[in-house]
Symmetry: C2
DNA sequence: GATCAATCAGTACAATTGTATCGATTGGTC
DNA sequence: GACCAATCGATACAATTGTACTGATTGATC
């Protein structure tokens, strides 16, 4: 099979692990080791060894060498390819509040193929100047600019009340995916991919874990 | 083997969905309807109907009435209980940068049972004054304060380079769970629960979806 | 170059999760 | 009061995911 354009659709769970592999591998001293074993990776990331090996086998363009492991550089290439980090996606962000600004300057995105090209906000004090390196436009420019720049991703970091309205604007602006940080359920057309970043869900997992721990001890 | 196989432990996936139910239900006009059907909820949240019914059956203190649905108020009570929103957990946050500040003022936490009682930062300009309602201490006070206040949760919002160091301090301070927003793999002792908030993972899912869409059309 | 240890690769299996289907229950309507 | 439609509850089934095991391959060591 063609290895470059094969979009072997990986499972969602696998895909969630890939950024961690990539992250860790990039953090290694490149001059130190040329190979890394699935076992070592699993130990470092606290994952099941076989699982890691399967994941690596799925994304690595080259096979792993017994006794040595996988070639780190090839792994990185494979990971980035499967993660779509090569084809940079351009995004616009709506809501230059604290969370919005945090995302605008979030380190992780630089390497992840996401390029936030502009921000939007209703607050006149923030408009028409740069914030964290991104220019902030008034909201009424959104649809026009988005269409002209052929933006694919819209990021929503506005308060819950305004989220649906912003969402509609983004859809009108022609985005294909919406990354929603507001704690509301948004309604989008069928063809638009909606991804909710739900802090509360993570918090729930932590919370349950602590509760279980306490009831356990009691 | 499985040490936390307790009574009513819901699956991780279920637990992830619960905040969404709660969120939606709270957003409803309480005076409008007293009951809601699993079908209606499923349609609104774009989930499978049976799945929603199962989830609701698991968390609702009362049974659902055929033809009517589940009693909304009871559902909310049940959800909050399972999510641990009643037993408020106290947390400290390290790293009062943009992301840290975003979390300090995040609306959602108020209702989610998480109380961030203090923040820490190495930057002297931020220290010893309030930021978004939370007092910012120098980092060297962390261990002492954490121990004395018996804090359970530590939130890390520092740059990647400093994350492990902060993590160690939190562990020394006796926290039981760490919520890590830095894009690195942290090493923690066995008894500490580590939860990584991985923005890049979500991004990967969006990215893949877009890529699939494009290759599909081509 | 023979042996050994570490690692990869493939298969089989178990657990979890999501989906479909069927009967049971209830409130509204005539 | 009998019927109908909507919904719940339970069971069974399919798909996915995680784990265990066995054999094959390779590099290092002597």
């Amino acid at each position: 099979m063609d290895k470059r354009s094969t979009k072997k659709s990986l499972s969602v769970q696998t895909l969630r692990r890939l950024p961690n592999y990539l992250n860790y591998l990039k953090g290694l001293d490149a001059s130190k080791d040329e190979y890394i074993s699935a076992s070592a990776l699993a130990a470092q990331l606290r994952l099941n060894e076989v699982q890691v090996r399967k994941d690596l086998a799925a994304v690595s363009p080259t096979k792993g060498k017994p006794r040595a492991g996988f070639e780190i550089r090839q792994l990185i290439i494979g990971l980035e390819e499967h993660l779509g980090y090569n084809s940079i996606d351009e995004a616009i962000l709506v809501g230059a509040g604290k969370l919005g600004r945090a995302l605008l300057s979030y380190e992780g995105f630089k390497n992840a193929g996401l390029n936030i090209v502009a921000a939007f906000d209703t607050n006149p004090d923030l408009q028409n100047k740069s914030l964290d390196g991104k220019f902030v436009f008034p909201l009424d420019r959104l649809v026009n600019l988005s269409q002209r720049m052929k933006i694919h991703i819209g990021i929503i970091t506005v308060p819950a009340e305004a989220a649906q309205e912003v969402c509609d604007l983004l859809v009108e602006g022609g985005v294909l995916a919406i990354w929603n940080f507001a704690p509301v359920v948004l309604q989008v057309p069928e063809h638009v991919y909606l991804r909710n970043e739900n802090m509360a869900a993570s918090l729930a997992l932590i919370s349950q874990h602590l509760q279980e721990k306490f009831t356990e001890e009691a």
